[in-house]
């Protein structure tokens, strides 16, 4: 080692070596950060082509669909992470559990309707109209319950800690997460809890390029995309949306512009949790069972999606969700399913190292 250093010093003019290093240190991360989206897209296309050549284009297309479908659920959860982070810079670790709890709400409301004489488990699969009626009933009520849960958590656990050092609300969030998991474990048991929504959505909707797309996939993807566009329009266009963006950018200035900060933050929690609630409802229909500890894994993957997209950025969270879904599915075919978690969290580390602002982090205007 010592020998090499001497050689380098002898060859290079004095002062050259450190300057080169400095240059490299400054330029390399910048270049990687700039090129990151291109590298990512290239990697995805490469993975797709690799699957297409080994297993055929239809399988690759199906895997893409699988990735987008699971990614849609990650995206719906990631929105809540990113909105809350945007406005109070808190990683709300309880958010994944709000998702799980909402899935149980979706199940319980179905049973509740039964109590009032409306049997959704037979009405929904009976006809398209019955299904739509059930969805029209379940979507608002599940999202409302999820939203209220989020608001209550903020009110009880986070509001008082808003001026505390960052670590305090973070640890509280972990605590709330454990609390919710404990409640769900005690109430619904350890095993997968049947959602009793089998046959609600079935059959193939259409075939695109040899890839059969089922109505189930259509439901999940359209819910995610629809809600994401609605959210984006809301945040950009509405008064409350402006208040959320203003609060995210400068809380004191927002306060003195007449914005009720508490209400704005509560609304943020409401909307974020309601979106997770919508995700939970489609999850319970798609997978037909829910387990108490589901939120841990889904939550942490959705968080990764939010970081990938640029935490605080709404469009980024949606994009990140879909990307993480596709990356995990492609990766688990190419490297083996046991690598799925490793791939997702390696992604998190790569993003934090090379592009900590995330894919769309530069475009802060969408932040709320």
């Amino acid at each position: 080692m010592a020998q090499k250093t001497t050689d380098a010093a002898a060859v290079l003019p004095p002062g050259r070596q450190p300057r080169l290093d400095a240059l490299r240190l400054r330029l390399l991360p910048q270049l990687t950060a700039r090129a990151f989206p291109i590298i990512l897209v290239t990697a995805l296309v490469g993975m797709f082509l690799r699957i297409a050549t080994t297993s055929g284009g239809e399988i690759a297309g199906e895997q893409l669909k699988n990735g987008l479908q699971i990614g849609a659920i990650y995206a719906l959860i990631a929105l809540g992470y990113t909105m809350v982070y945007g406005i109070i810079e808190l990683i709300n670790f309880a958010h994944g559990d709000v998702f799980t709890l909402s899935a149980f709400y979706a199940i319980l409301f179905g049973q509740l309707f039964g109590f009032f004489g409306l049997n959704v488990t037979t009405l929904a699969p009976s006809s398209a109209g019955g299904l739509i009626a059930c969805l029209l009933l379940l979507f608002p009520i599940t999202m409302l319950a999820a939203g209220i849960t989020g608001v209550l958590i903020e009110r009880v656990a986070y509001r008082r800690l808003r001026q505390s050092p960052r670590l305090a609300p973070l640890i509280t969030a972990v605590g709330v997460s454990f609390l919710l998991e404990g409640v769900m474990f005690a109430k619904f048991g350890a095993a997968n809890y049947p959602a009793r929504k089998d046959g609600w959505v079935h059959g193939t909707a259409f075939t695109a390029g040899g890839v059969p797309v089922r109505w189930n996939d259509v439901l999940v993807l359209s819910t995610a995309l629809g809600l994401m566009f609605a959210l984006q329009a809301f945040v950009r266009g509405s008064r409350l949306g402006k208040a959320m963006r203003a609060t995210a950018q400068d809380r004191d200035a927002a306060l003195l512009s007449g914005i009720n900060i508490n209400r704005t933050i509560a609304a943020t929690f409401f909307i974020g949790s309601a979106l997770a609630g919508a995700g939970a409802l489609v999850y319970s229909i798609y997978y037909n069972s829910v387990q108490w500890n589901l939120g841990f894994r889904y939550g942490i993957i959705a968080f990764t999606a939010a970081v990938l997209g640029g935490i605080g950025n709404i469009v980024g969270a949606g994009l990140g969700g879909f990307l993480i879904g596709v990356i995990s599915v492609f990766g688990s075919q190419l490297l083996g399913g046991e690598w799925e978690n490793s791939i997702v969290f390696a992604m998190l580390i790569i993003v934090l190292t090379f592009r900590p602002v995330g894919l769309l982090g530069m475009r802060v205007p969408d932040r709320a």
Binding site: R239, K242, R245, G258, V364
Partner: protein, 279 residues
């Protein structure tokens, strides 16, 4: 009649008495300036008035009603708004959106209306946007309505901050060093804007370091030093007050007040940021 009454207020941060038993009034339709060396407690006093800090003791009355203990957004709704020493616009929102945020406290649609985007909320939204554009044109900012606040020239950012403050329809406007960082031309324009606003019936209370601006536009001046009020009166009275001269220039100084202090180019010096956040 007094619009704002500051009644023996004190503010303590731990061992530091930032504002010490200060009393003064701001009359309806007046332009009142508050001056004092760095660290005199001026911004802290502002923060106490706008509800950002709770006062340690004393009372603040607005239009005869105590506003101590009210949350900032309620105080804004009563008719007090402010600008900041170091511009605090929502830099990634357009100019018109910034003003619309300022109108927040005047809107009546509830959170639910906003989430569900009811016709009521939409109607209100359109009306507010029209009003915001009117305010922008009133301050000569209509050209910049759709630009991000961060892309506006510095002088216009100052004006946009005033526009945002005006949006909530205040009766009392608090300006924290509005001339900081402006060139002489922009300062003249600013003074024109302030006078114009007073003519329209607004009461203005400002903190300012630039003595030319202060002396030219103020009806009365309040001087703070080490958290205490050391003088109050017309510009001429204050200019010749020996305690004021001493506070600014140290003992033995003479009457060169109006040239005594050059305005810093930018309010970047953290020492200017008195009491921004208690440690």
């Amino acid at each position: 009649m007094s619009l704002l009454e500051i009644d023996h207020i004190s503010k303590r941060f731990g061992g530091l008495l930032a504002v010490n038993d200060v009393t003064f009034d701001v009359g309806d339709g007046e332009i009142v300036s508050m001056i004092g060396p760095n660290g005199a407690g001026k911004t802290t006093a502002f923060n106490c008035i706008t509800g950002l800090y709770p006062v340690t003791s004393g009372d603040v009355r607005f239009d005869g009603v105590s506003i101590v203990g009210l949350p900032p957004h309620r105080i804004t709704a009563l008719g007090i708004t402010r600008t900041f020493q170091n511009i605090r616009l929502f830099s990634f929102m357009t100019a018109v959106d910034n003003v619309m945020v300022g109108e927040h406290s005047r809107m009546h649609a509830k959170v639910w209306d906003a989430i569900l985007r009811t016709p009521k909320a939409r109607r209100e939204e359109r009306a507010v946007e029209g009003h915001a554009l009117t305010i922008l044109s009133g301050l000569g900012l209509e050209r910049y309505a759709d630009m991000y606040a961060r892309n506006l020239p510095y002088g216009f950012q100052r004006r946009l901050e005033i526009a945002r403050a005006l949006a909530s329809g205040p009766r009392l406007l608090l300006l924290d060093e509005p001339a900081a960082g402006l060139n002489p031309q922009e300062k003249n324009e600013l003074m024109g804007v302030i006078s114009h606003l007073r003519d329209e019936g607004l009461t203005i209370f400002l903190i300012e370091h630039d003595m030319r601006v202060v002396m030219e536009i103020s009806d009365r001046i309040v001087v703070l030093d080490y958290g205490e009020k050391i003088a109050e009166g017309s510009p001429a009275e204050v200019r010749n007050n020996p305690r004021v001269i001493e506070a600014y220039l140290g003992s033995g100084a003479t009457t060169q007040m109006h040239t005594a202090r050059s305005t810093p180019l930018r309010p970047a010096n953290p020492a200017d940021d008195e009491g921004e956040r208690p440690a």
